[in-house]
């Protein structure tokens, strides 16, 4: 068994927490796990990517090779698109429909791609995937910082190797007690969102 998960987003979106919940889910089940994150020098607003690799045999590099990613989870739109080449032929993506403009886009020196262009390119790629509004859902629940957990809840429906209940238990154990209930609700909301998206496709 091999499973490679790449999470792409911008600083402050809880990328590393999502990755650590999944890592613990698999270490608890005695799989070999290796992970690494790439964070630029900026504390916030820069690209953040975490690689998570799981196997029942040896893992050598913590970095997923291009074309070997099974699940690509994008917490921010262009950050996911940037890493699209990492996806394997039968890999799937899960995109949060959330756009953080870049400095150069704000200055009108660059253009953030339009929804039509993005959907067109995704369709043309022939890759499986879903787009959900996790940040909007998290905001409706009162805290945009729950985006990562909504996405995690949804991701668990995209691979038979991820047992939703099992990941939820790890989340319950790792979330700080003050926000545990809120986290579990966000996780469940992610499950509902993805079920609806799968139903529509």
């Amino acid at each position: 068994m091999n499973l490679n998960i790449l999470i792409a987003g911008v600083g402050g979106q809880g990328n590393l927490f999502a990755s650590s919940v999944l890592a613990n889910y698999f270490t608890d089940r005695k799989y070999a796990v290796a992970a690494v994150e790439t964070i630029g020098a900026a504390q916030r607003g820069g690209s953040v990517v975490s690689h998570l690799r799981v196997s029942d045999s040896n893992i050598y590099s913590p970095l997923i090779p291009a074309g070997k990613c099974d699940l690509l989870m994008g917490l921010e739109t262009i950050e996911m698109l940037r890493h699209f080449r990492m996806l394997s032929a039968d890999g799937s993506y899960l995109l949060n429909d959330y756009k953080e403009p870049t400095v150069l886009c704000n200055m009108e020196l660059d253009t953030y791609p339009s929804d039509e262009a993005i959907m067109g390119a995704l369709k043309q790629s022939g890759k499986k995937g879903y787009v959900i509004r996790a940040t909007q859902c998290a905001r409706e629940m009162g805290n945009s910082l729950l985006t990562n957990v909504v996405m995690l809840g949804a991701l668990c429906h995209l691979s038979p190797l991820l047992n939703s209940r099992g990941v939820r238990d790890v989340l319950a154990a790792r979330a700080p007690s003050k926000v545990r209930e809120q986290n579990l609700k966000a996780f469940d909301a992610g499950g509902t969102l993805i079920s609806a998206a799968i139903g529509q496709s």
Binding site: V36, G45, M86
Partner: protein, 610 residues
């Protein structure tokens, strides 16, 4: 019984040092090494501290080692440059208690100003033994072994992890923490610990530096024998007569490439310098060709070529000198590509990997939303533009002011270079006013020396010291201006403005950057002065302040009055808060990301931001 814990490579190295009985750990923060002292600071019986700079950190560690206490100094490659002068001396004196230097490299410069392979200065220059780990478990094992071997050989051992080892996470075996015998005691040996050009009567009047150099050279044979037996160097059988020499992280990529291509090559896994000579020769004699995979310069490749040349062995050797990329990080992709070059039939096993067919905007670095420095950078940009001033920059969060939209700083080199570079610009004969901008931690690290030099020599310039009370860019480590240390204990905070006044600067104004007019007035006053004028920008880092409840402003709801906004874009092009966007000729504030610092109220000259 050993248990396994899911650890980051840096945590694993910290744990290795603790298990080895380390008692003093020093360092200066720098990605990718910062989490090592932070991890060790959990153990209260280890004296752990962030030092003013890396040279001081290494000097402290050596002092402890001289009393037979195990000590470790931690830094990134740039820091090892700073510590190099001391390192070149301690290499000659040797050590007593195990002394380990962790010098973490950032090939690919993911989070650095330059790419550098610190094996060159630590091994080829200082002649010290270096361990190059490939994964967190080996990094921990190497740190432990380094302490034992350091004591055995009386040499400082260097562990050189790269970012992908420092930041990798995987289950790591924990072992018991060693109990160490003996009471620390300083025992004199002036023939070793006084490095000076003095003649040694017992050695026929030879100068001591030559004798110590000879001692260090003679140690190399002992080291080479030790490396021969270490488990960090081994051979793996495989098909064919092309041998892959996999050094440090290179081993991870070589094994990954083998798995991907479904072919096993003969592999010589190396993790030490000096090289295990016999193992290398034994391997090379069986091969027609060696390819050396290492990050990031052709260090092992060069040493193997030299060894084979001396032994008259004809095996061809290739690697980072040109066959593999000569810059950037090694990767599975680069490793696979090199093997496909040698064996084109392997191409079919390379997975397809196609980028999306569209242009994707890049993200340049900028200040965080709510960062106090944005107000200062805005004020300085307007003043520098009006006066045609030149701004010399330095290393830290505020360096993002050098990118769009502000493009304020005109130079950025290494820690502390802003003030001396500005001094040179002032001496050049140019009539442009000169500014230097430097952060708090960077000012203490090295900047203060340039300031003393400038004041002493009578330069006219304005120096802006950005004090947000923490080393924010590397993850909020305290510095000498902070009132708590790495473990949260209260310590004496050095007052930057008072220090500058004591040095003799013309003035030292302290400014709250959330009040932009205050910053502008201070800048204008400073430019009118002769000599070195200091402006200390004083407000807590917003990200840290949000955690501790000490933010530098009173939150205010702000929004753009679209009627009043004339689309001048000063808030975009001369301020650049990411919470302000621009569309259809008008600015708008994203209420979901705005943190209500209110600085933009002073930016808009039409009063459209309310």
């Amino acid at each position: 019984m050993t248990t396994k814990e899911y650890l980051m490579g840096n945590e694993a190295m910290g744990r290795g040092a603790v298990e080895a009985g380390v008692k003093v750990v020093t360092g200066y923060p720098g990605t990718p090494s910062s989490e090592i002292p932070e991890y060790v600071s959990r153990y209260p019986d280890v004296r752990t501290e962030w030092c003013i700079n890396e040279k001081v950190a290494l000097e402290i560690a050596l002092g402890a080692s001289l009393c037979r206490t195990r000590a470790m100094a931690v830094m990134k490659h740039n820091g090892t440059n700073v510590a190099l002068d001391f390192l070149m001396h301690l290499a000659n004196t040797g050590v007593r208690g195990g002394l380990v230097l962790v010098s973490a490299d950032d090939p690919g410069a993911n989070s650095s100003q330059n790419e550098e392979d610190s094996r060159i200065i630590t091994h080829l220059d200082a002649h010290l033994p270096v361990f190059d780990p490939w994964c967190p478990q080996e990094a921990k094992d190497m740190v432990k072994a380094a302490f034992d071997l350091s004591e055995k050989t009386e040499l400082c051992f260097v562990v050189r992890p790269v970012m992908r080892v420092c930041h990798a996470r995987s289950p790591v075996a924990l072992e018991e923490i060693a109990a160490r015998d003996g009471t620390p005691f300083f025992e004199d040996d002036r023939s070793r610990f006084i490095m000076s050009a003095v003649r040694e009567p017992k050695a026929g009047g030879t100068l001591r530096p030559v004798l110590r150099h000879r001692w260090l050279n003679q140690k190399q044979a002992e080291l080479a024998l030790i490396m021969e037996d270490l488990s960090f160097n081994y051979m793996e059988e495989g098909e064919g007569r092309t041998g892959l020499v996999a050094c440090g992280i290179g081993y991870a990529f070589v094994k990954e490439a083998e798995q991907m291509l479904g072919k096993n090559f003969p592999v010589l896994k190396l993790g030490t310098l000096p090289l295990p000579r016999k193992k290398v020769l034994q391997f090379a004699r069986k091969m027609d060709r060696l390819v050396v995979y290492e990050d990031s310069e052709a260090v092992v490749e060069g040493l193997i070529k030299q060894l084979l040349h001396d032994e008259g062995i004809q095996t061809e050797v290739a690697g980072r000198s040109g066959f593999l990329p000569t810059e950037g990080e090694l990767s599975t992709e680069a490793t696979v590509a090199s093997l496909v070059k040698l064996y084109p039939e392997l191409e079919r096993s390379v997975p397809e990997s196609a980028p999306l067919d569209m242009d994707i905007p890049i993200r340049t670095r900028t200040q965080c939303i709510g960062c106090p420095y944005r107000g200062l950078l805005h004020a300085l940009k307007l003043v520098a533009r009006k006066t045609h001033g030149v701004v010399a920059g330095d290393i830290g969060c505020y360096d993002a002011g050098s990118f769009p939209p502000l493009e304020l700083q005109s130079t950025i080199y290494c820690m502390g270079s802003s003030i001396p570079v500005a001094t040179g610009i002032a001496y050049s004969g140019s009539e442009q006013p000169v500014f230097a901008i430097i952060g708090d931690s960077t000012f203490f690290h090295n900047g203060v020396l340039g300031l003393i030099n400038a004041v002493h020599n009578g330069v006219d310039m304005v120096v802006i010291i950005c004090d947000n009370r923490t080393t924010a860019m590397t993850g909020f480590q305290p510095h000498p201006g902070s009132d708590t240390d790495i473990g949260g204990r209260p310590v004496a905070a050095i007052d930057i403005a008072k220090l500058c006044t004591a040095i003799g600067t013309t003035s030292a104004q302290t400014v709250n950057p959330y009040h932009i007019p205050e910053a502008s007035e201070a800048l204008n006053r400073a430019i009118a002065e002769k000599g070195v004028s200091i402006i200390v920008i004083n407000a807590p880092c917003y990200l840290l302040g949000r955690r501790t409840g000490d933010i530098g402003f009173t939150p205010r709801e702000v929004s753009v009055d679209a009627e009043l906004c004339n689309g001048c874009k000063i808030c975009i092009d001369y301020f650049g808060c990411p919470a302000i966007s621009f569309s259809d000729g008008k600015a708008a504030i994203d209420q979901a990301t705005c943190v209500h610092c209110g600085m933009c109220l002073d930016v808009c000259q039409r009063g459209a931001i309310k």
